[in-house]
């Protein structure tokens, strides 16, 4: 019998939600465990096998010197490395510290700042090592996660649409919250993947999947202003879960 491919799951600065998405595949997790050897996944198992690993899923961003070293080690022992979620792909909500004085942040939260060791930025995995595929979302969509794992096991590219949330809204027949209700919405510039969730709950998209390919940010920014959002509110909505890619898209 051929050797089963090995899967490893790694955590950096994050909330655990994206790796939990794998355990949230209640109908598939046991059959997945039949197809792959779960060689390293501390949230699920204390058994650890030595690398190299055929597929590494990486959750979380790099925020410490130690993690800068660790991600290089992970890359060395991984044939394919896929980032899962906004932290690993874009730096996550903790990248808000990139705009701030980190020493002030440390002393605002911790009584003894000397005990805390942290970099002055939160950076995506791709800022440190080559990445084979990036899965967006805060959190990721578990169907898309299964597609990514299946694709890598079969040696093909994952089929993950790069269009906007608007496309998903149209497909599910949700009335446009921006046109019909005047609710500010990031759907026109946000990467699809959630299934256009927020508009189906009568609220505007807040961009947790990050920018789509070639978004028209200027047109949307103008429209958000028309709907009464002030400049600061617009800055804030872009600066939340995918700070860096939205900043890059806005200045492009």
């Amino acid at each position: 019998m051929a050797r089963k491919p090995t899967l490893a799951v790694w955590k950096f600065a994050s909330c655990d939600g994206c790796q939990l998405s794998l355990l949230d595949c209640e109908d598939e997790i046991l059959s997945l465990a039949g197809e792959v050897d779960i060689a390293y996944f501390l949230e699920a198992t204390r058994a650890t096998a030595e690398g190299p690993y055929d597929l590494s899923l990486v959750e979380g961003s790099v925020t410490t010197h130690h993690d800068m070293e660790r991600i290089r080690e992970v890359r060395k022992v991984s044939k394919a490395l896929v980032t899962i979620g906004a932290c690993a792909t874009a730096g996550g909500v903790q990248a808000l510290k990139n705009f701030a004085d980190v020493d002030e942040y440390i002393s605002a939260v911790y009584a003894t700042p000397d005990y805390i060791s942290t970099l002055d930025s939160s950076t995506p995995i791709s800022a440190h090592v080559p990445v084979d595929f990036e899965l967006n979302g805060c959190p990721i969509n578990k169907r898309q996660l299964l597609e990514v794992i299946t694709a890598f096991l079969h040696g093909r590219r994952p089929e993950i649409p790069t269009s906007s949330v608007c496309m998903e809204c149209k497909r599910r027949g949700t009335v446009c919250v921006m046109v019909a209700h005047g609710t500010p919405c990031l759907g026109p510039v946000t990467h699809a993947g959630c299934g256009a969730l927020c508009p189906s709950y009568n609220r505007g998209c807040y961009g947790c999947f990050g920018p789509m390919e070639t978004p028209n940010i200027a047109a949307l920014t103008n429209q958000l202003g028309e709907l009464g959002m002030g400049e600061k509110a617009v800055d804030r909505v872009f600066r939340t879960f995918n700070v860096r890619p939205f900043e890059e898209a806005r200045t492009r």
Binding site: K11, F12, A13, S14, C15, D16, G17, C18, L20, S21, L23, D24, E26, D27, I29, L30, A33, I38, L42, E43, A44, T45, R46, A47, T63, T64, D67, G92, V93, Q94, L96, K97, A100, E104, Y105, I106, A108, V109, Y110, A111, T112, Y115, I116, T118, S122, C138, P139, C194, L197, C198, S200, Y201, N202, R203, Y206, C208, A233, R236, T240, F241
Partner: protein, 296 residues
């Protein structure tokens, strides 16, 4: 008298827990001399970057503190924002919040009991190996977990980082047609949960009891989940707004997680054991019977 032999146990990465932690234990003879739990999870500075955000944005942001229990962080922050605004969410809107919280408890407790803790009690590296010897137990646990996730998805929009919680209420109430199909599923989940109580009560628990101060919420007629005063078995009984007068969060050198203590008396225990100890009389009759049969 000879000096007792000292040994140390140092686990550099704890498996099957939320987040990242290490454990150091030093034992002299038969006496534990020192225990250090090192939460080395890197700091993310939520308290700092929340400053200057719009108050309506806070529940979406605090959810990201933890992907396994986002509702806990959404409910505490949304309640704080509402208290600041002088708004109280009551009636069916409050009942829906408790329902969302129940969804999180069902999926999170099924995860913790069967996928994170049961392998330790039964001597398996993970629930996947456990499933080879006890496929029905793991399959039922996954079914219960899935139903908890479905409840969160209907009420909150999705299971990880729900999107429907809004300061002042909800973005949209779930429709009757969305809620009704959950009823038979939840009845099935209740059967699984009762069986889970029977299974876990047969686990081999260490014979160890500590004299804890137990802390939980307290609201008339309700098992504590989401609201009420902060009470303990040693006479603490305060509104949430007086928390800082009675509790202090200390920063220790070996851990990024702050240590919370009661100012006058020191360490305390909260969570499921404390809730059960302080409010067992407010469990539903079925849950009370199950607890009694389990020998609690």
């Amino acid at each position: 008298m000879s000096t007792p032999k000292t040994k140390t146990i140092h686990t550099k990465a704890l498996a099957r827990v939320e987040g990242e932690g290490a454990m150091y234990v030093r034992i002299a003879g038969r006496e534990v001399e020192e225990v250090k739990l090192n939460i080395y999870e890197p700091p993310r500075f939520f308290e700092a970057f929340l400053r200057g955000r719009g108050f309506t944005e806070v529940p979406d942001i605090t959810a990201r503190i933890c992907g396994i229990c986002p509702v806990a962080y959404q409910m505490s922050s949304v309640t704080a924002m509402e208290m600041a605004c002088g708004v109280e969410v009551g009636g069916q809107l409050q009942a829906l919040r408790r329902l969302l919280y129940c969804g999180e408890w069902i999926e999170s407790h099924a995860l913790h009991v069967f996928m994170l803790h049961a392998p330790d009690f039964l001597g398996y590296p993970s629930a996947i190996e456990l499933a080879r010897d006890a496929p029905d137990v793991v399959a039922s646990a996954l079914e219960m977990k899935k139903i908890g996730n479905e409840l969160m998805t209907v009420v909150g929009g999705r299971e990880v980082h729900p999107i429907n919680v809004k300061v002042g209420g909800w973005y949209r109430a779930p429709r009757k047609g969305e809620l009704a199909p959950l009823v038979p599923k939840l009845e099935r989940a209740r059967e699984i949960a009762l069986e889970a109580v029977r299974i876990t009560s047969g686990f081999d628990f260490p014979d160890y009891e500590q004299d804890y101060e137990l802390v939980a919420l307290d609201h008339p007629g309700e098992y504590p989940i989401d609201r009420g005063r902060v009470v303990s078995n040693r006479g603490l009984d305060i509104p949430v707004t007086e928390y800082d007068d009675h509790f202090v969060e200390e920063h220790v050198e070996w851990s990024n997680a702050l240590h919370s203590r009661i100012i006058e008396r020191g360490s305390y225990l909260c969570g499921p054991l404390a809730r059960f100890a302080l409010a067992a009389d407010r469990l539903s009759p079925i849950a009370r019977d199950a607890a009694r049969e389990a020998g609690l």
